[in-house]
Symmetry: C2
Subunit: 217 residues, 2 copies
């Protein structure tokens, strides 16, 4: 009986491990073939498993897609959000997040560039649970940038005339184009341009605040 229990445990551990490995492979594959190209048959071939073996993990294509999104989100959180958590100054935190994002592109954690930019482009016009979840994650990222801008404004670190949502939009725009250009041209110059654009834009927000406080009107 003790032996049986061990066997069950081993099987469970195996099951967990392979689910994790399958989902990592699925997230990578989705940035090249699309999340819609992620059929259970195609993925089974890719990871060298039987279709029935995959069905034991995921009941449907949509379940597989949603689980893949969560895995990609975990990778994103660890690579991009995690390293910036200790940065206290909210303006510096925005810049740290952007640089972490560009470094995440540079290391090619996903072969087809940012997972979320890739699947957002694919699922933008396909209503459903997959699009909802992608839009939710994108929205949370944008909100985080905007909230950091609001905190910075409350602390007097950026110009009171700045609209933090507009600032977040502009900064996010540089990251998105960096991703597209890097994937399309395979040229790290796009990452450098984005880094420079983010730095310049944040400096402008900050510089204006300084200029404002030193200007007598």
């Amino acid at each position: 009986m003790e032996q049986n229990r061990k066997l069950v445990r081993a099987e469970r551990a195996d099951g967990v491990k392979s689910r994790h490995a399958i989902l990592n492979a699925a997230a990578s594959l989705a940035t090249v073939e699309g999340l819609d190209g992620l059929s259970i048959g195609r993925l089974a071939e890719h990871v060298g498993m039987s279709k029935s073996g995959l069905y034991a993990h995921f009941g449907s294509k949509e379940e597989l897609q949603l689980a893949t999104i969560e895995t990609a989100n975990g990778i994103f959180q660890e690579a991009v959000i995690g390293p910036t958590l200790s940065v206290e100054d909210p303006v510096e935190r925005i810049e740290a997040l952007c640089n972490a994002f560009l470094y995440y592109l540079e290391r090619r954690l996903f072969p087809g560039g940012c997972f979320f930019a890739s699947v957002a482009a694919e699922y933008g016009s396909h209503p459903g649970a997959v699009r909802e979840r992608i839009a939710g994650i994108q929205g949370a990222w944008m909100s985080m940038l905007a909230e950091l801008g609001e905190s910075a404004q409350a602390l007097g670190l950026i110009d009171p005339r700045e609209d933090p949502k507009q600032l977040a939009f502009e900064v996010q725009a540089y990251l998105l184009l960096a991703n597209m250009a890097f994937v399309l041209d395979d040229n790290p110059l796009a990452l450098e341009r984005a880094r420079k654009a983010v730095h310049g834009r944040l400096n402008l927000a900050r510089t204006a605040a300084k200029a404002d406080s030193s200007t007598v009107r």
Copy 2:
């Protein structure tokens, strides 16, 4: 014989018309289903023709994809480039191009947003003739923006310290995010944010030039 000639002409006109109609449908479909989703079978179903009828027009899926790209490029040129040709001031021309692009999104000429943003995201990591052509069209657009910036600089309209390629990158970034956000959230606010960002960025380039010429150092 005269009658025969008319018949041949009518057939040709018909053939040309239907090729045009097929490619317009293909360009729209590609922004929703992807350019890779554009199989001859899928398109035949969509336009209500037989697969053999479509094969008479396009020998292969790649030929169909390349012809679709040219059709989309024609639509883009007419909607975005055409209306700005009479604008002489190069900085105003950049702004006019950006506003024409945002208006092209707003009118939803393609159901899945900008054709080129959509297929670039899809084909970024698929080497081949399709990717080459998409990268070529994207590159030409970026070069046009950068060359307008260079002309503006030569005319003393923007700050000599501006890098016209960096300026083009930033302006293009706002357009790309506007497209993604508009498609994903279906909210015209993203178009307004991009319009404002472009205007502010160009103004900064111009304002700095003015400030520079009035500053004695």
